[in-house]
């Protein structure tokens, strides 16, 4: 993977295409969890990849690509959320149902949890569980202290537990 990042940084479009393939699902889970509908999630993800391609040359530490890219997605997604405060919110995770192959009960649970969690809680859980980032990496990506990462993950899990407990 590092070889792919190195070649892409040196301007190899084919290598960058490999990175898009490798990171599109992880990145999508992140933007989708923040934004809540697949269309804006996809738009933001595309924008993030284009931004990454343009600024890849400034990436000094190749092994930091993962966190660097996640930070781009986070920033673009949060910008979109800010813009949207003034607009009507869209789907709210409805289209998750169409996307994944999972049991009906699980779908209901995930939708319920995502809908009720705050944006910050959703983002941090995805960074941890889907992107597999360490606490230090999450602190770096979100620009918050390590102590806040610990307490926020804990709070997000507590909150999710509460939500899933409601009405059985």
């Amino acid at each position: 993977m590092e070889e792919l990042v190195r070649r892409a940084r040196d301007g190899d479009i084919k290598a960058f295409e490999g990175l898009v393939e490798a990171y599109k699902n992880k990145g999508f889970a992140l933007s989708y969890s923040i934004l809540g509908d697949r269309y804006s999630a996809e738009d933001v993800l595309q924008e993030a990849f284009i931004k990454a391609w343009r600024s890849l040359r400034s990436l000094r530490n190749i092994s930091a690509f993962n966190t660097w890219f996640m930070r781009i997605i986070i920033n673009l997604s949060y910008n979109e959320v800010k813009k949207r405060r003034r607009e009507v919110s869209i789907d709210d995770f409805e289209d998750l149902v169409a996307m994944v192959n999972m049991g009906a009960e699980d779908k209901v649970d995930i939708q319920k949890a995502l809908k009720s969690l705050s944006v910050d809680h959703r983002a941090i859980l995805i960074l941890r569980e889907i992107d597999g980032l360490s606490y230090e990496e999450i602190a770096d990506v979100l620009g918050i202290p390590l102590g806040t990462v610990k307490s926020r993950i804990n709070a997000a899990r507590m909150k999710m537990r509460e939500i899933l407990k409601e009405e059985g």
Partner: protein
Amino acid sequence: MRCEEARSLLSEYLDGMLDEEAGLKVKLHIKECAVCMRQYDDMLEERRLIGLMAGIGPSAGFTERVMSTIRESLNPYLVLPVPLMGIFALVFMGLAMGQAIYRLLSIYLTVASGVITSVLKVYSNSIFVQAEIISMLAITMIALIFLFDRLLKGAGR
């Protein structure tokens, strides 16, 4: 260890973030305490649920759409020499009728500009393409010098 303390550490315990001593204490506590064990199981279930999100992804053709947007936005300064070389090629064609060397050069430039255009679509701003463009320009300059040399000799006669 009390329940309250154990529960505040469960999340970090799940992520393997506790040091050995604290980890062991939590482990022993949840072994003994059914209530905290239940809470730990709930967290494992949450992890499984969130993990299912790994199965989602952008719609089909996403990679192609991203890549074609990127190819369209290639640096214009790198693509610029290509049409310039085409013009040089035409000038040579016109001026160097009958001279095999110029004819060869103009064919070379026409072919090379085509090759570079397609290489650019794949590799964009790689060092390889930059070197190729520089060598193309060098060949063009040498050819120009030849041409002027010939014209001057023609004028001197």
